[in-house]
């Protein structure tokens, strides 16, 4: 099967045929964007220094090696826990027009609504695989809000076949992790009942 590759700027129709559980790759640009950047836009009302309309963000805080003269090398960059941005993400999608959000683990109902109503997707990059991701980065093109320090700076990266990206929220209202959670919780109750048969140590 041929690799499904998205290219920025991404249009809503590019995402129509993509469903949860699919695997895609990205060509073009992706900007790291995490806790404080979300807070600055949504709570502080500050304008993001990067235009994300049709673009992609990466919930990630990389290790960067400065090369001098505003040039940087991407050493390691893997996804961080996306759920930390859940509080802001629906509004973030609405305000920025971002089309692809890459991170780790699932996100909640707000992001699902944002993705459904404004045609965007959330995808998981296999976490802990930061060298795989870094080798997909051809160049760091821009660095904004550097006052936030290395992990939280908005690093805009030119990427080639960045992935695998496993779709966890699609534009059709489906949320893979939330669907899995229902199954996990059912199995958890069975597991607890089984363990409790053997741990009545206080008698």
């Amino acid at each position: 099967m041929a690799k499904k590759i998205l290219t920025t700027p991404i249009k809503a129709e590019d995402l129509e045929d993509i469903n949860v559980g699919d695997i895609v790759y990205l060509n073009g640009y992706i900007t790291t964007c995490r806790d404080v950047a979300h807070r600055r836009l949504i709570e502080e009302g500050r304008k993001l220094p990067v235009d994300l309309d049709g673009g992609a963000i990466f919930h990630a805080g990389p290790i960067i090696r400065p090369l001098g003269d505003e040039q940087y090398e991407m050493v390691s960059v893997g996804p961080t826990t996306s759920m930390r941005m859940e509080k802001f993400e629906e509004e973030f999608i609405k305000q920025t027009g971002v089309k692809l959000i890459v991170g780790k683990g699932g996100m909640g109902d707000g992001t699902m609504r944002g993705c459904r109503d404004h045609k965007a997707i959330h995808a998981v990059f296999p976490a802990g695989c930061a060298v795989v991701a870094a080798t997909c980065v051809e160049k760091i093109e821009d660095a904004n809000w550097k006052d936030l320090g290395m992990p939280e700076t908005l690093w805009t990266c030119k990427v080639k076949e960045f992935g695998p990206l496993i779709i966890s929220i699609d534009t059709h209202g489906r949320n893979l992790f939330e669907e899995n959670k229902v199954k996990f919780n059912e199995k958890k109750e069975e597991a607890i009942a089984e363990i409790c048969k053997h741990v009545s140590f206080i008698k």
Binding site: I63, S76, T80, T81, A127, I166, I192, F201
Partner: protein
């Protein structure tokens, strides 16, 4: 050996261990991941394991930290009361983190609280964190180095149960963490459980439990049986790699315990991610050392 020379030697050796553990997983973790990976047959689980193994190869080949989140470094010490450089240890460990931050390089992960700025050095108030156990009549220094990212620190939880809730309550407490925060914390996880009296005693034990080698068991027979019950139970939940479902959810479950006050059961959970970056080094009084977490290592 002069004190200054000893500090330099300790600093340099620990800095190398810390930098190395950010790039190469310990022997026991590598072996366990191979075993677990072979058992997965769903396509998404396979894609994830393939990426994990490829990543670890690339990290060695390119000499880079395998995960970008190199943690706020922690050291767990078992220091002989007669170790000749006991007074120099803290200074040396802080210096070693500074050196590893530059050499590895490590991500800057120390944000001063309240003033809310990143020090840019991985050093701050109380960071790196050093946990001391003094061993009487010994002249050795044993150190577990640990690099826990934010992702696997996030699920950490401690509370005090009433005895009526019993070990059944402990079971629910642990499994609830797995299905809420655990699935986002990069499974397969190493799960550490502390059982004691109050939150701080249970919490420290739950973290120390993560320093035990994989495959080790609690010396108490009932505790060891509960480790196995929890391991099987959490595997049955089916979190799989990255919480994308699969046959295995954990690298293991380790319980550490002390006696408790009769009125309470303090319980805590800490998890380590699949990229469980632990190092174990033992110095003798001459500062000769052995690293038994990574047998291939030779600085």
């Amino acid at each position: 050996m002069k004190k200054e020379e000893a500090v330099l030697r300790l600093t340099d050796t620990v800095a190398k261990v810390v930098a190395y553990t950010g790039k190469v997983l310990p022997d026991d973790v590598r072996k366990k991941l191979q075993e677990l990976g072979k058992e997965e047959d769903a396509s998404l689980s396979k894609v994830v394991y393939e990426a994990m193994f490829k990543n670890q190869e690339l990290a060695i080949k390119l000499n880079r930290p395998s995960c970008q989140d190199t943690g706020a470094i922690q050291f767990f010490l078992r220091c002989g009361a007669n170790f000749p450089y006991i007074n120099e240890i803290e200074e040396a460990l802080r210096a070693s983190v500074l050196q590893a931050t530059k050499d590895a390089p490590l991500r800057h992960n120390s944000v001063e609280t309240f003033d809310e700025y990143n020090t840019g050095k991985n050093i701050g108030k109380g960071v790196p964190t050093i946990f001391w156990d003094i061993i009487p009549n010994s002249d050795k220094l044993e150190i577990d180095t640990y690099m826990a990212g934010g992702g696997c620190s996030l699920p950490g939880k401690a509370m005090v149960l009433m005895p009526g809730e019993g070990y059944e309550g402990v079971t629910r407490f642990v499994l609830d963490v797995m299905t809420s925060y655990g699935l986002n914390a990069c499974p397969p996880l190493l799960v550490g459980v502390g059982i004691a009296t109050s939150v701080e005693t249970a919490a420290v034990l739950s973290k120390k439990a993560l320093m035990r080698p994989l495959g080790s068991h609690n010396e108490n027979e009932r505790a060891a049986s509960m480790e196995k019950l929890l391991e099987d139970g959490i595997n049955k939940i089916g979190l799989g790699p990255q919480g994308l479902t699969g046959k295995n959810s954990v690298l293991g479950v380790h319980i550490e315990n002390t006696a408790r006050h009769p009125s309470v059961i303090g319980v805590a959970v800490n998890v380590g991610c699949w990229s469980h970056r632990r190092g174990h080094i033992v110095f003798d009084r001459e500062l000769n050392y052995t690293i038994d977490s990574h047998t291939e290592v030779d600085f």
